[in-house]
């Protein structure tokens, strides 16, 4: 073990030996030894993953699309002089002729007004709807609603799922058994049916509430959040539990225990950070699913309350004039597709970049 390999008295090689002749070797100089100490640039797991993500063209494209959409829904209402629920006014008077205009066209009254005053009116980028409202601003507000529902519902799912899954996985044994059977029961419920039932029931119970937050959101919106909080966390909880079961067997968890760390500390600072990539990826994939559910509910008339638009309710409204004005369906539908596709591709990109199983 402690045999010192002193190069000064290297053994002489026997002519019949297959061994390497040790006398041909020379001792490494101190400078050469120093070269061993030089290490590569320090990279964190996060930096490494981001670098990989930026190399994925689809992921980068979806990031760009999402950033553009988010910038639009933040700044467009500040620039466009129309309201999402107001009939277009020309010179302070309601313009009833501005019905179902094609994109970038003006109504007869608007043209007269512009000729009279010489003032240029803001164009209707996506035309107007059957109630003489600017369609672009309605789509922008609809996207706002859909995106924020998707985001908040996913955050809700994230919090409940991670908490539930980590407790179940870390505790193990009987606790885990009971908690997972509850998940199995919730998993087997038909979710669409429950959503429809719940929103009907909640609509009635929440209808008389004085709570200003619930009032401004609309009871349907609140019921969507409740449904997500009740039903959709199970997938996340199962996933987190599985990851934690894997992590628990790592020696570094045992090492933290030997150091004297509490269970809470072990979960917080060792287990969750190591499961983070899986959690981020699942959340990114949860957002489009939530947007889709919201759009579907709005489409069947159980989503946001009129006149507040959502992408689903816009599509539903466009159905009536589909033969004459197909573009009114195309705009919200394309927006949904863009958002859902971008989030899905981004989620896939994140998985490729961060999933430890696909690394190396």
């Amino acid at each position: 073990m402690d045999s010192n390999m002193d190069s000064m008295n290297m053994p002489k090689k026997s002519p019949f030996s297959m061994q390497i002749d040790l006398q041909r070797f020379e001792k490494a100089t101190d400078e050469e030894k120093k070269q061993q100490d030089v290490m590569s640039e320090s990279t964190t797991f996060f930096k490494d993953g981001m670098r990989k993500l930026m190399k994925n063209p689809l992921a980068v494209a979806s990031i760009i699309v999402l950033v553009l959409i988010i910038l639009t829904i933040i700044f467009a209402p500040l620039i466009v002089p129309y309201g999402y629920s107001d009939i277009i006014k020309v010179g302070g008077k309601r313009d009833k002729s501005a019905k179902n205009l094609a994109p970038f066209t003006y109504s007869a009254k608007e043209i007269d007004y512009m000729e009279e005053t010489g003032e240029k009116l803001f164009p209707h980028i996506m035309g107007t709807d059957s109630m003489c409202r600017d369609y672009f601003i309605r789509v922008v507000y609809g996207t706002r609603i859909s995106l924020s529902v998707g985001l908040f519902a996913s955050i809700l799912v994230l919090i409940i799922g991670v908490l539930y899954g980590s407790i179940s996985g870390y505790a193990g044994g009987r606790v885990d058994l009971v908690m997972m059977r509850i998940v199995d029961i919730i998993y087997s419920l038909p979710d669409m049916l429950i959503i429809i039932l719940l929103s009907v029931v909640l609509n009635e119970t929440l209808a008389n509430t004085q709570n200003p937050i619930i009032k401004s959101l609309g009871t349907n919106m609140v019921s969507i959040f409740i449904v997500f909080g009740l039903l959709y966390w199970v997938g996340m909880a199962r996933l987190v539990r599985g990851e934690i079961l894997k992590m628990k067997n790592n020696e570094f968890v045992l090492a933290a225990k030997a150091v004297g760390a509490s269970s809470g500390r072990i979960i917080r600072s060792h287990i969750i950070p190591n499961c983070l990539s899986v959690i981020i990826i699942t959340t990114a994939l949860q957002i489009p699913s939530a947007i889709f559910t919201e759009s579907f509910l709005s489409f069947v008339g159980m989503g946001v309350k009129a006149p507040m638009p959502s992408l689903g309710s816009l599509a539903n409204a466009a159905r009536e004039g589909l033969q004459s004005y197909p573009l009114q369906l195309v705009f919200p539908a394309v927006t949904i597709v863009l958002i859902v596709l971008a989030f899905n591709l981004l989620g896939d990109g994140l998985r490729d970049a961060f999933d430890p199983k696909l690394r190396r």
Binding site: M1, M39, E251, V259, H270, N274
Partner: protein
């Protein structure tokens, strides 16, 4: 070595330690796997007790149960004469630490070296300012031969030997009097093994820390240990002064273990007779009656099958559990 037997001087005392794991052997049926079955020993301050035995004999479980990483099925552990139990364990985590076998999985890949070594300090709140924490960590790093500039790096950037040094620095952070070293060098290259083993010795000289050094390599254990204990199937079969055990082994299992140690000189090796044991290690789920080793022992008699041999002193602290020898 002369004050071995004086009880007042021992740092760690283990009495009749037992650890059984329930194993599912069929539908609704569990059998107890006796990983450790009544092990007793003492370790004096600044001393190294080597623990050897083949894979699956319960060496690692002894170390982990001793530190209550597993809840012991039976037996008592004393530290400086005080019994260690669940309630006061957090206090003793500062005094008894562990170095793990696998330097790859025993360090959290998402933490910097600084945070890994600083974790025991954080848990026990052993500093009053950020600067003090950093100074302590850098001091520990230089103690185990790591550069200060490595503090902000992540473990995947280090070699196996360097990682094991990080693990040792973490164990030393709380200034323990006793460290369980669970096969700390078996995952390393031979050349690095020597460095790390020598570092363990240097640290013992500097800090006066006692080790329970678990390994399956007898030469490494002989090099570092003051005393050596040999385990077979969850029980201790022989314990003696390191040189005494190597030169005058008594138990037939120790004899066969020693004969399997590779000798660097081919001429001596040829002259030596190897004792090859017959059969396999019995399943710990289905242990033989009496002496666990009797199924492979050539001296086994009827008495060995009937009764478990007591662990008795054969003079000079040389303890052996055997009826025949």
């Amino acid at each position: 070595m002369s004050d071995q037997s004086t009880k007042s001087g021992s740092l760690v005392k283990v009495e009749d330690l037992k650890e059984y794991f329930p194993i599912r052997t069929g539908f609704m049926r569990t059998t107890m796997l006796k990983a450790v079955d009544g092990v007793s020993f003492e370790i004096n301050p600044g001393e190294t007790l080597g623990l050897v035995g083949e894979s699956g004999c319960g060496k690692t479980t002894v170390g982990r149960t001793l530190l209550r990483l597993y809840k012991p099925t039976g037996g008592k552990v004393y530290f400086e004469g005080h019994e260690v139990n669940d309630r006061n364990m957090k206090e003793y985590r500062k005094k008894m630490q562990m170095v793990f076998q696998d330097p790859y999985s025993s360090l959290d890949p998402r933490m910097t070296v600084e945070d890994i070594i600083g974790e025991p300090l954080d848990v026990h709140k052993m500093y009053s300012s950020k600067g003090e924490r950093r100074d302590t960590i850098l001091g520990l790093m230089s103690l185990v031969g790591l550069n200060a500039e490595h503090a902000t790096r992540y473990v995947h950037e280090f070699s196996g030997g360097q990682r094991q040094r990080i693990g040792i620095a973490r164990a030393l952070a709380v200034r323990p009097g006793f460290i369980v070293c669970d096969e700390p060098v078996s995952a390393l290259d031979v050349s690095i093994q020597a460095q790390v083993v020598n570092m363990f010795e240097d640290l013992q000289e500097k800090l006066g820390v006692a080790y329970l050094f678990i390994a399956h390599d007898l030469l490494v254990v002989h090099h570092i240990s003051d005393r050596i204990a040999v385990m077979y199937l969850g029980r201790m079969v022989e314990m003696a002064d390191a040189d005494e055990l190597m030169d005058h082994p008594i138990h037939p299992y120790t004899l066969s273990l020693l004969s399997a140690v590779p000798v660097p000189d081919p001429e001596t090796a040829r002259a030596q007779k190897r004792i090859i044991l017959e059969g396999d290690v019995p399943s710990p789920l289905n242990m033989p009656s009496g002496c666990a080793f009797r199924t492979r022992c050539r001296y086994a008699t009827e008495q060995c099958a009937r009764e478990c041999p007591p662990f008795t002193d054969r003079g000079n602290g040389h303890m052996v559990a055997c009826w025949e020898k």
